[in-house]
Amino acid sequence: QTVLTVSSWLPPTHTASVSQQKWCAALEQESKGGLKCNILPKAVAAPPGTFDAVRDGLADVSFTVDGYTPGRFVFAQIAEFPFLGDSSEATSVAYQRIYQKHFVPLGEHRGVKVLGVFTHGPGVIFNTRKPITSAADVASLKFRIGGGNISELSKAMGWNVTLKPATDSFELLSTGVMDGTFLPDESFASFKLSMVKHVTRFPGGLYNSSFVFIMNPEKYKGLSAEHKAVVDKLSGEYVARLFGQGWDALDKTSREGLQKELGVQPVRASEAFVAEVRAKQSGLEDKWAAAASAKGLKDPKAVLDEFRAEIKKVN
């Protein structure tokens, strides 16, 4: 029997940790008990260090957010762009296909075995003050954001944002230090953001994040051919669907359960609002295309179009 050491930097009850546990259960079942996970009580490294921890064999399996190690992964930024899609599962599966076709050959995630890539649900704007219907409304309040494309976009929009970890959201909002935060719907429930009164949703989400589910390559090489086949079977789109479905389910429970219960007022972003964001975003996409092509990607703009078309197709 081979034991894989598995680590998660999110609480064990978080959807990403749960999906990882499900992956482990499937692994054990498919290998008829030949492969087993040992899920560690505490993460082996802080989120930004997880990639290296798996590469160095401290943990055998874990997941990480590409944007947590700024400067490393250029291609992955494609999955951070606005208006990708309303379903984490569809976006994740499409992202996985594009990743397999265009990014794998360029080897940006070198040093680890990539089991799959995925994204979270559409990013929304939560706030405690007022209904937000325009870019000017956003500019009038203070927001917490994570990094990546949304950080660049906020800068371009002239919004007053501060970079803080998502786990600080509760404290920032409950004390009124910040008026709101950009997160997926799921986080309202996960971080117990009961002080939030308004949510603004964009068709396809204001932003997203790229996740990668990884394994130590030496560990993989050391497996028997039979066990390798099991891991391969549970890789790629299987991973994208598994994590994506988990996220969608939690987004839905948060949106239609807790948020309704606590009377969070939803706003659907207007066409004009979307157009404003889109105008600023196009500049960022040019910038990304230049960076990606410098790293060896042929015709990045076409890949981006293909990605968007693929999401629609999966939907």
Binding site: T5, P11, P12, T13, L40, P41, K42, V44, A45, A46, P48, G49, D52, A53, D56, G57, L58, T167, D168, F170, E171, L172, S174, T175, G176, V177, S190, F191, K192
Partner: protein, 430 residues
Amino acid sequence: MIEASIGFAAVFIMAALRIPLAVCMVTVGMGGLALLRGWQPALASTSQVIFETGFAYVLSVIPLFVLMGNFVARAGMARELFQAANAFVGHRRGGLAMASIIASGGFGAICGSSIATAATMTRVAYPEMKRHGYRDALAAGSIGAGGTLGILIPPSTIMVIYGIITETDIGKLFVAGILPGIVAIVCLCLAVVVVTWRDPAAGPAAERHSWPERLRALRNVWGVALLFALVIGGIYGGVFTATEGAGVGAGGAFVFALLRGSLTPRALLEILQESARTTAMLFTILIAAMVFTSFVNFTSMPNDLRDFIVQFSPEPIMVVVMMMVIYILLGLVMEELSMVLLTIPVFFPVITGLGYDPVWFGILIVTVIEIGMISPPVGMNLFVINALLPKVPLNQIFRGVWPFVFADIVRLGILVAFPVISLWLPGFMG
């Protein structure tokens, strides 16, 4: 469980040879990890832990609270706090020790760190106690134990960390700490009474103060009250976070020291360097404890402890009691932040599964952390006092702190038996 126990034993054998504790923990942690996972992962993990712990925004509260304590001491404010408490209780046997505990409670209300509170009160209260013929053991013990009030009485860095990893309301945790903080002050003062009853020479009575003197001394604490209002008011009023509050507090204390004319450029440089040195000393241990923790994380210890606990589930309160016993035992030999990071992920689900209130459990966790910080041989507060009083040997400090450890255990029993003490005030919040 065996691997972890051997690891702990190895650390103590090395430490007994006078090798700095941090070096012992790094050596054993790295070696143990190498045996369990191989050398390459062990070395990579160690370098990662060093970088992550050194390059951490959230941990900036430690140097800032230490700095604030040093500015406050320089401005003479902690001394005023101590003198006010002293004016009321100093004439009793052990009165200066009680005054230092009460003043620690007051200082804890503007400082979120146990270590910084102990460091500040060491400077203020120890010379007074020494002057009045107090035994080093009682002086160091009361300061060390009083220092832990810094994390029980809000603001509290530990409550912030607990709140983040368990997703518990940090505001409620803060409010929940107030009444247990008062219970703690009473218990610790009773410990002083017991110590001086058994050995009157340990803490001779100081001069009595008249009522006009007492009121004048009380008026002098306005500086502390103002800083308290600034930091706590700022946190509750939504101007800044608890982490940022440390910087604002340090800034406020700097202004006070400046206005009172106690800051020359030379004094400022000394205060800054001293704070940086205390920080470096603490982080060396913190980093080493984190390396050791990443070794324990790969052993079966955390899950073995959970399995041991879960067998008491038919009698839920026994689960809590056994958990507290485990924490007190672990607290003897571990650095508390590592202890919490390692055990909360396995213990917390058990507690909430039994239907207990996470805020109440948070207060219990803070209490066992307080006990761990003053229980020999590994107690950060004791190390801080040791660093600031090079002439007092560590085993004098160890000897003096035991009565206070017992007082804290009694208080823990009270808090377990009467959850209402922790939950009454937060019950009024939304």
